[in-house]
Symmetry: C2
Subunit: 347 residues, 2 copies
């Protein structure tokens, strides 16, 4: 296990991020030791009162990540970023909370890029609040923000740092070729270069995670993977050329597989090891339906392609329940556990 801790960006102060972070510390104290919350001290302080599990916990402001290793019992290390936030009302879009959430992500990324922490785990931010900030109005979300930080750090153009989203739970890993766009638009965005780049990013990231050549399955676009062109030609004309090229580079990649069976085949359970380590899915719902089907609370997002490890829970700020002690910390905890697992193998 990497001896460095994690940087956990606090997310939007009006959402459930602070309280579920606090609960992860309380429920998994030994595992959280050495990790630091990159956020706002007073907001974390307030979050402790939300749930009985954290009532006996404390917050301590640190100036450097290393101080997190020397925290007293039941104490969360918080690195204050920017000015102290006012008491933002729970569950409301607030410009200062949105702007700060962006700053927290940038600071956490910087710590990881410098090697001060082993990985970044991002608690949810609220996009509407983020976009009220002039600094962040052009960033759709976390991924693009992290991409910009990494490119800046590396002195590269953002275009030269392509990323893909991986969704993972204990049974299945899925990497998406296309993400947030209408299905018709997604079909147009599935091109041979884009699929090939997805295969390359997936291979590199999974190799680093597993310590061996990953077994990559490619989901088809059409029912029965097109059945030889009978139900669409995307498999023959678009996917196969990318697969052939990836194989020539040494990747272990399947032919396009019928979408309705590939996830079942890749799924690992106690009774049946999966046939593949990861499935490359062509569009958002093709990949997310199976990942979420068995229950959303175990799902984790992992951003692939960046020169840092970043995971996040697969839920949002949940403004409707923030501050009420109802939020479930499971997905954030899984994201933390996944980050720990990834960095124990890669460093």
């Amino acid at each position: 296990m990497n001896s460095k801790g994690l940087a956990i960006s606090m997310g939007d102060a009006a959402g459930i991020g602070p309280e579920i972070i606090a609960q992860c510390f309380a429920l998994h104290a030994a595992d959280m030791r050495g990790s630091v919350v990159v956020g706002d001290v007073a907001t974390m302080q307030r979050a402790l009162a939300v749930h009985p599990a954290t009532a006996q916990w404390h917050v301590q402001r640190v100036e450097q990540v290393g101080q997190a290793l020397d925290m007293p019992t039941n104490t969360i290390a918080v690195l204050q970023v920017g000015d102290a936030l006012p008491a933002v009302p729970w569950g409301q879009v607030h410009a200062a909370a949105g702007h700060s959430a962006g700053l927290f992500v940038e600071a956490a990324a910087q710590l990881a890029l410098q090697g001060d922490v082993s990985a970044v785990v991002t608690a949810p931010l609220h996009k509407e609040a983020l976009h009220l900030s002039s600094r962040y109005q052009n960033y759709p979300g976390h991924t693009e923000l992290l991409q910009a930080c990494a490119a800046r750090f590396a002195g590269q153009a953002v275009e030269d740092m392509p990323v893909r989203m991986m969704l993972a739970n204990p049974q299945l890993r899925v990497v998406l070729v296309t993400i947030h766009m209408g299905l018709r638009q997604a079909l147009d965005a599935i091109t041979t270069p884009h699929v090939l780049q997805t295969l390359q990013i997936t291979r590199k990231a999974l190799y680093a995670m597993l310590g061996r050549e990953p077994r990559i399955a490619v989901a088809g676009v059409n029912p029965h993977a097109g059945e030889g062109g009978l139900f669409g030609r995307e498999e023959l004309d678009i996917l196969l050329p990318a697969i052939v090229q990836a194989r020539s580079e040494g990747a272990h990649v399947s032919d396009p597989i019928a979408p309705d069976t590939v996830f079942m085949r890749a799924r690992s359970t106690a009774h049946k090891p999966g046939e593949f380590d990861v499935v490359v899915a062509q569009y958002h719902d093709q990949g997310l339906i199976p990942v979420k089907y068995d229950g959303v609370s175990d799902g984790v997002n992992v951003t692939l392609g960046l020169p840092l490890v970043r995971t996040s829970p697969d839920h949002g700020t949940a403004f409707d329940i923030a501050g009420q002690g109802l939020a479930d910390p499971s997905s954030l905890w899984q994201a933390i556990a996944m980050a720990r697992q990834l960095t124990s193998l890669t460093s």
Copy 2:
């Protein structure tokens, strides 16, 4: 429970149909009592030798369905349809086996339409073999054949007997708006009238099954169900008008729901009852990925819209393993159990 038995069409003689039918009789003797195989006596006889479970079983030719109620122990009633088949080689496309498989389906449908049996369960036929018969060359598969039988029996045009495919397992029921076509073509085939007709057929069939108004969920077409038009307009322009009309007819139908969460929400487990009785899915893989994800052996197809109950396993003839005793009878048994459940409620 309906006191009438089921008609089980034998499927292609060269496939796994005969042997898994025999195994269902052997493994579930009490439940199978009174049901009849609509097929070929000699082929069923041969199938008994395939697996040890059926080695002590016998086949008896019957002339009428009612005779199946008086079978001796360990005896399968078989209604001979057409001429006796030759010994068709296992695992090969054979014109006589294909033609006969079509005749078996027609005969079984006729029994159900006349009320001689409570339902039809169809063992798999082989489409290539079926199409070698001039009588069946224009029928893509079971569904269209059953549709034609039912229309003929009712004196209606086939166009006036629209059907939809439902996939069901113990946790989830899914009805498909579009089926076997490329994804681009499927997007064009999702129209307001077609969605409305799907909702009407689903409502009527599920009402008959459940004995109450079913809770119908509608899956969106696009990620996040389009997020208010941001990721595609099909939800607003196509699905919603159909939903509004179905509601005006009294149906309990959801708004379009994000595809990546609707199946999870509808799923029923021992720990969590589903929020919906059935999900209307817009395209083949959207519906089949979740149905199959947890393991294919429990899956059942149910044809909705016909004036008869028809179920089938969700696998094919499996020519590669036919006659070897390797075939799994689980899905056929689930199809039989589903047919029994459906007819116990509807009659």
